[in-house]
C-alpha cells in the first residue's frame, strides 16, 4: 500500500504533464515546462495557459470530486454498488442544469443570468432526486439491491426528462445541452476551473471532520452507536456532502459517469480502508481516471472531440456489471 501511496501522486503529475503536451499540436515536455514557468515562446504560453492547463486542471478536479463523492456514498450506504451515477444523482443534476439552460438563456445562446447559478440548479436537481431515492429506500428494509434498483429507476426517469427537454426545447438549446450532457472537459475555462476548486475547498473542512465518524461506520449500526457515534447524523451529513459534491462537479463537467463507482473500489485496494487514506486514494484515482479518459479521446479520436464521459462509461459499465454479478448473487 505504501508503494501505491507514493507512486500514484507521482504518476498523476507525469500524466498531467503528458496531457499538457498532447493536443492538436504536440508540445515536447521541455517546451511545456518552459511555458509553465513563463520561459516559453508566446504561442506555447498561450496554448498551455489558455487551452491545455484549464482542461487538465478541470479533469483533475472533477475526477477528484467525483471519486470523493462516490466513496462518501458507498460508505454511508454500506453498499459497494452505490455511486452518484447509479443512484440517479448525476441524472438528477442533469435535469436541474437543462431546466436552467432552458429557462435562462436567450436565442443568441447566451445566458441571461450568471453561470454561477448553474451549479445551484444542478444541486437542486440532484437533491430532489436523491431525496426521492432516499425516502423510497427508507420505506424498505436496507437490502443493497433494493437501493440500487430504486436508484436505477430514478436515473432512468431523470434521463427521460433530459431527453424530452432536449428534443422539445428550442433547437439552439439542443446542441448546447448535448455537449454538456455527455461529460466533457474540452471547453474548459479558468472561470469554471475556479468554481470546481471552490466547491472542493468548501467541502474540505466537512470531509476532514467526517473522517473519524466514517471510520466508525465500519462497524454495524448498533456497535457504531454504542461506541458513541451519532449514526443518523453522520449518515445524513455524508450523503448530503456527496450529493452536493456530485452536483457541483456534474454541473460544470457534465455526466462523467462511473468514476464515483470505480475510484473508491480501487482506493480501497490500493490505499486501504482507513477513511483518510481511502478518501485521498479515491480523489487521486478519480482525478487520474478523468484525465486519462480525456487524454485518450484526444489522442485516439483526433481531430474529433469525443467527450471523456464516453470513455469512463466504456470502462465503468462492464465493471458495474461485474460487481452486480458478484454482489447480486449474495443478496438475490
Amino acid at each position: 500500500m505504501t508503494a501505491a501511496r507514493v507512486s500514484l501522486p507521482v504518476g498523476l503529475v507525469v500524466l498531467a504533464l503528458v496531457a499538457a503536451a498532447m493536443g492538436s499540436s504536440f508540445m515536447p515536455l521541455d517546451r511545456v515546462t518552459a511555458a509553465l514557468f513563463g520561459q516559453g515562446s508566446r504561442a506555447d504560453t498561450v496554448i498551455l495557459w489558455n487551452i491545455r492547463l484549464p482542461r487538465v486542471t478541470m479533469a483533475l478536479l472533477a475526477g477528484a470530486g467525483l471519486g470523493i463523492a462516490g466513496m462518501l456514498l458507498q460508505r454511508a450506504t454500506r453498499n459497494p454498488l452505490a455511486s452518484p451515477g447509479v443512484l440517479g444523482i448525476v441524472d438528477g443534476a442533469a435535469v436541474g442544469v437543462l431546466l436552467f439552460l432552458l429557462l435562462f438563456s436567450n436565442e443568441a445562446n447566451v445566458l441571461t443570468v450568471s453561470i454561477v447559478w448553474q451549479p445551484v440548479a444542478a444541486i437542486l436537481g440532484a437533491v430532489v432526486f436523491a431525496l426521492v431515492v432516499a425516502s423510497l429506500a427508507a420505506r424498505d428494509d436496507t437490502r443493497p439491491m433494493t437501493l440500487i434498483l430504486y436508484g436505477i429507476s430514478l436515473a432512468a426517469l431523470a434521463n427521460a426528462i433530459v431527453v424530452l427537454l432536449i428534443i422539445a426545447g428550442p433547437v439552439y438549446r439542443a446542441s448546447q445541452g448535448l455537449i454538456w450532457l455527455a461529460g466533457s472537459v474540452q471547453s474548459a475555462e479558468w472561470r469554471e476551473v475556479w468554481m470546481l476548486a471552490m466547491a472542493l475547498l468548501v467541502a474540505l473542512p466537512a470531509l476532514v471532520a467526517l473522517i473519524r465518524p466514517l471510520d466508525q461506520l465500519h462497524l454495524d449500526d448498533l456497535s457504531a452507536r454504542t461506541t458513541g457515534l451519532s449514526v443518523t447524523r453522520t449518515r445524513v451529513a455524508t450523503l448530503a456532502l456527496s450529493v452536493l459534491l456530485t452536483a457541483a462537479m456534474v454541473s460544470i463537467v457534465g455526466g462523467i459517469g462511473f468514476v464515483g463507482l470505480i475510484a473508491p473500489h480501487a482506493a480501497r485496494l490500493l490505499f486501504g480502508t482507513g477513511a483518510a487514506w481511502q478518501l485521498t486514494g479515491a480523489a487521486l484515482i478519480g482525478a487520474g481516471m478523468v484525465l486519462m479518459a480525456d487524454l485518450l479521446v484526444r489522442v485516439l479520436f483526433q481531430p474529433l472531440e469525443v467527450p471523456a464521459g464516453a470513455v469512463t462509461a466504456l470502462i465503468g459499465a462492464p465493471y458495474f456489471l461485474f460487481l452486480l454479478l458478484r454482489h447480486g448473487r449474495a443478496h438475490a
Binding site: 476532514v208 471532520a209 473519524r212 471510520d215 466508525q216 465500519h218 462497524l219 454495524d220 448498533l222 456497535s223 452507536r225 454504542t226 461506541t227 458513541g228 457515534l229 451519532s230 480502508t273
Partner: protein
C-alpha cells in the same frame, strides 16, 4: 439490593404495531452481574436496547445514574455504557487492534491520533481477553470464539463502568461459551463493572450472574438473587416445562434440569407431551 444504577419506570415499548412491554418497571443494581432470561420473544433484548437508548420508549423513562437517558449525549452515554449486540460486524480485513481502537471513539479528542490513554486502554483490553498474540490478525482469520473475544476487547477498551451484552455466547461451543462468561465474571469482580447480560441458557446465567430477571410475555415474572429466582416453580411458570432444580456439586449454585423424559417418546408423560396431545385433539 445495592443502590440501583439504571431504572426503567413504567416503560412501554414495542415495534410498529406490536407492544412488547406495557408498563415495565425494572432496576439494575450497581457493581453486579444481572442476567436477563426468558423464553424466545419475551423481549429481553428489547429491554437491553431500551436501557441503552437504542429502542425508544413510547411512554415511561429510563434513568441512568440519576439522569434521564434522553439528557445524555451520545458520547457521554458511550463512556458510561458499552454494549455488544448479537451480530456485530466489521470489515473482514480489519485487524483486531484496529477494531479494539474503535472502542475509543467516545474518549478521543477531535483531529488527534490515539494518545497514551487510548493505547493503554487498548493494550489492557487485549490482555484481559488474551488477544495480545492475535492483535495484528485480520478478523477474517479468527475462529468464532476468538472473534467474540475481539469484540469483547473493543467493548472493554471503551472503559465504561457499565457493560451490556446481548447473548454473547450465541454460536459458541461450550468451552468458548464458558471462557467468555468467565471473562464477563472477571469484568465485574476485578473490574468493578456493572454487567447486564441477556442469556437464554439458565445454567450459564446461574454461573455468571449475581441476579436474574425472568421475563414472560412482557412482564417481569421473577427477579432477585440467582438462588431465589431459579426455582422449579418459577421456571415451570415462565417456560411451561416441568423441571427439577438441583445443587451443582462444584459450586453450590442451582442447576436446572428439564424433566422431559426422552423427547419424542410418549412414555415420559410430561406436561409437554400432554400439551401436544391437547393440541392434537
Amino acid at each position: 439490593m445495592p443502590e440501583p444504577l439504571i431504572t426503567i419506570d413504567a416503560g412501554i415499548m414495542g415495534y410498529r404495531d406490536m407492544t412488547v412491554f406495557n408498563g415495565l418497571t425494572l432496576s439494575i443494581p450497581k457493581g453486579e452481574v444481572t442476567a436477563l432470561c426468558g423464553p424466545n420473544g419475551c423481549g429481553k433484548s428489547t429491554v437491553l436496547k431500551a436501557m441503552r437508548g437504542i429502542q425508544p420508549l413510547s411512554a415511561g423513562e429510563v434513568i441512568l445514574d440519576a439522569m434521564p437517558l434522553g439528557q445524555w449525549s451520545a458520547k457521554g452515554l458511550a463512556r458510561t455504557v458499552a454494549m455488544l449486540g448479537q451480530t456485530p460486524t466489521a470489515p473482514e480485513e480489519m485487524r483486531v487492534r484496529d477494531l479494539v481502537a474503535l472502542g475509543r471513539y467516545a474518549h478521543r479528542k477531535p483531529f488527534a491520533g490515539l494518545d497514551i490513554g487510548d493505547h493503554t486502554a487498548i493494550d489492557t483490553a487485549l490482555r484481559a481477553t488474551t488477544m495480545v498474540a492475535l492483535a495484528e490478525t485480520p478478523l477474517a482469520n479468527l475462529s468464532g470464539g476468538q472473534a467474540q473475544r475481539a469484540w469483547l476487547a473493543m467493548v472493554l477498551a471503551q472503559q465504561s463502568p457499565v457493560i451490556f451484552l446481548d447473548e454473547p455466547t450465541n454460536h459458541l461451543d461450550i468451552s468458548h461459551a464458558l471462557s467468555t462468561l468467565s471473562l464477563v465474571r472477571q469484568m465485574a469482580r476485578n473490574g468493578g463493572k456493572t454487567v447486564v447480560i441477556v442469556l437464554h441458557d439458565l445454567n450459564m446465567a446461574a454461573t455468571v450472574a449475581d441476579r436474574i430477571v425472568l421475563f414472560k410475555s412482557g412482564q417481569v415474572a421473577a427477579e432477585g438473587p440467582v438462588k431465589e429466582v431459579l426455582t422449579s416453580q418459577n421456571i415451570e411458570t415462565v417456560f411451561d416445562i416441568p423441571c427439577a432444580v438441583m445443587t451443582r456439586p462444584d459450586s453450590n449454585l442451582p442447576l436446572v434440569v428439564p424433566l422431559l423424559g426422552r423427547i419424542g417418546k410418549s412414555e415420559g408423560n410430561t406436561n409437554l407431551s400432554a400439551q401436544k396431545a391437547d393440541a392434537l385433539e
